[in-house]
Symmetry: C2
Subunit: 162 residues, 2 copies
DNA sequence: ACAATTGGTCCTAGATTGCAACCAAATTGC
DNA sequence: GCAATTTGGTTGCAATCTAGGACCAATTGT
């Protein structure tokens, strides 16, 4: 079946997330929604994507519970749900990475708290203490298939040896 | 020009980031690489994607400096660069979101520190204090185009009024 | 009442994806 | 040392997805 991948079979939460917001536009639509964009035409103007694609993505994001469609049937508003708002850390982590590693110019948008203080750069922590990448380990979880277990064990073994 | 969007013109760091890792496979390839996967055939087996797509994505990720291609020309190893490792927070934030909001089963992979303690869930903070979504503000940055400024001002105005 | 705006749908051309077949170099088995 | 297998791709084809524009019904504005 050519055309598009079905990531939902990969038994991986990243794949599950990407199956919902993994295409080129969905995350940008959500970012606009989190910033306060609500109307079809505003998304269209802000992102400059084709109408049919925008309609399709909005429908899908509503189906997946990331956005809520409300107001009149013919002129709806799209508002982020709690599930959508919960993506803010991932989105902002991506933005910060883009600021540091991709953009040539200074950041166009800054995220602050309600008193205008720039938010901290997002880090990995355990028990409130920051972790470097080298301290991370990937362990099989409760939902790990045998095949996943073997896979992780092989990688960990290699890490220790070579 | 149908086919694919050029996100690089959006003057947005999220778009810049997505222009590099915004397709269905790139982030999953990077996730594997961060977990220790190194060889073409290992990525292929782990993700189950087509060979030509994998070859294309690996080449692009190397071009963009996220992965480093090393070892023999004919049997290279792909290792995450510092730029690639810097994506770990965004990736893990996405994984945590998938664990909570998407997966039906228990998490297949758990990220811990070097002593096996589960890492904290990733949150937004300012001055070390956790922020709720409602406390966030999106302000124009130094690199904001006039059009971006007007856009953000309109959204902020609306937030205050209606 | 009338024109403009909004929120779509439909159609078409071109780009992208997945799959299978193929291939050369490197590694393995004996 | 030599054949067989594995590795890391490339190429071609068919199906799918994308961008863009034309079109349309229902609100909204005047």
């Amino acid at each position: 079946m050519p055309g598009k991948a079905d990531l939902s079979k990969l038994n991986c939460s990243v794949a599950g997330a990407l199956n919902i917001v993994g295409d080129w536009w969905s995350l940008l639509i959500l970012r606009d929604a989190l910033m306060g964009v609500r109307r079809f035409s505003e998304f269209k103007q802000s992102l400059g994507l084709a109408r049919n694609i925008l309609a399709d993505r909005l429908r899908r994001l509503v189906e997946d519970g990331v956005l809520i469609r409300e107001g009149s049937e013919r002129r709806p508003l799209y508002r982020p749900s709690e599930k959508g708002r919960a993506l803010a850390p991932a989105l902002i982590a991506l933005m910060q990475w883009g600021d540091v590693w991709v953009s040539k110019s200074r950041p166009p948008v800054v995220v602050t708290d309600h008193e205008g203080r720039k938010i901290d750069s997002i880090t990995l922590q355990a028990n409130g203490r920051a972790l470097s990448f080298d301290e991370l380990r990937f362990e099989p979880g409760i939902g790990a298939a045998p095949h996943t277990r073997a896979f992780l064990a092989k990688l960990a073994r290699r890490e220790r040896n070579g």
